[in-house]
């Protein structure tokens, strides 16, 4: 976990969102949701920074992407291809 400024967190959120919208990181939706909520909560509480877990987020995206592929493989096998 690391403390970063709200501005840094916003840049990261923007980057993740755009990457997700462009189809690069389809597994990022839960991370985007959590980070967006965290930023909103921090702002509402009048905080200037936020505690985040970079590697946890990256692994969460990886796990979600892997799960999606596994589901696609299962579906393809069901369809016999």
């Amino acid at each position: 976990m690391k403390i970063v400024s709200i501005a840094d967190a916003r840049n990261i959120l923007l980057g993740l969102t755009l990457a997700n919208l462009h189809g690069i990181l389809p597994g990022a939706e839960p991370v985007i949701d959590q980070l967006g909520k965290a930023i909103a909560d921090a702002k509402a509480a009048g905080k200037d920074d936020i505690e985040v877990g970079v590697m946890e987020g990256l692994w969460a995206i990886y796990d979600a992407t892997k799960a999606k592929l596994q589901a696609s493989i299962a579906q393809a096998e069901f369809e016999g291809r």
């Binding site: 840049n11 923007l14 980057g15 970079v54 990256l58 990886y62 592929l69």
Partner: protein
């Protein structure tokens, strides 16, 4: 604020840009996004040894996504997708070992493991690209 998950676009862009033979879509998107985002500066501000595995994790995410797309577009078979997944999981195990070594203060071991992981990710990428070139089998 605890237990907040996030990731860094710079890592994603670095991973996309370094993906051997990555799709034009991914590389093109990375190029389009690059000037719009201050991702690199953000990553620099977060600089920490434990983040060294970040690009590897993101590369694996992008690779699995590309495999998913290829499978759903019927460019590869489920068996071929499984091969890519298995090869990626080998790299995943190595990256997880590297992260553990870094946390335990064994930085040089982590470096060696990350080098191995890079090669393993390259192998997995090669499997996907060979399958795409060869068609569904």
């Amino acid at each position: 604020m605890k237990n907040i998950l996030m990731a860094v676009l710079a890592l994603a862009l670095a991973a996309c840009a370094s993906t051997p033979g990555g799709t034009n879509q991914v590389l093109g998107t990375a190029t389009i996004l690059m000037p719009a985002i201050q991702g690199h500066g953000t990553l620099g501000a977060l600089g920490d040894p434990e983040y060294r595995a970040g690009p590897h994790v993101t590369q694996m995410s992008v690779l699995l996504h590309r495999t998913d797309l290829a499978l759903n577009r019927k460019q590869i078979s489920s068996a071929q997708a499984k091969e890519v997944l298995a090869a990626t999981e080998v790299a995943e195990a190595t990256v997880r070992k590297a992260v553990a070594a870094e946390k335990a203060g064994r930085s040089s071991e982590a470096t060696q493991l990350l080098l191995i992981a890079s090669k393993q990710i390259g192998n997995a990428t090669q499997i996907l690209e060979t399958a795409q070139k060869g068609g569904v089998k």
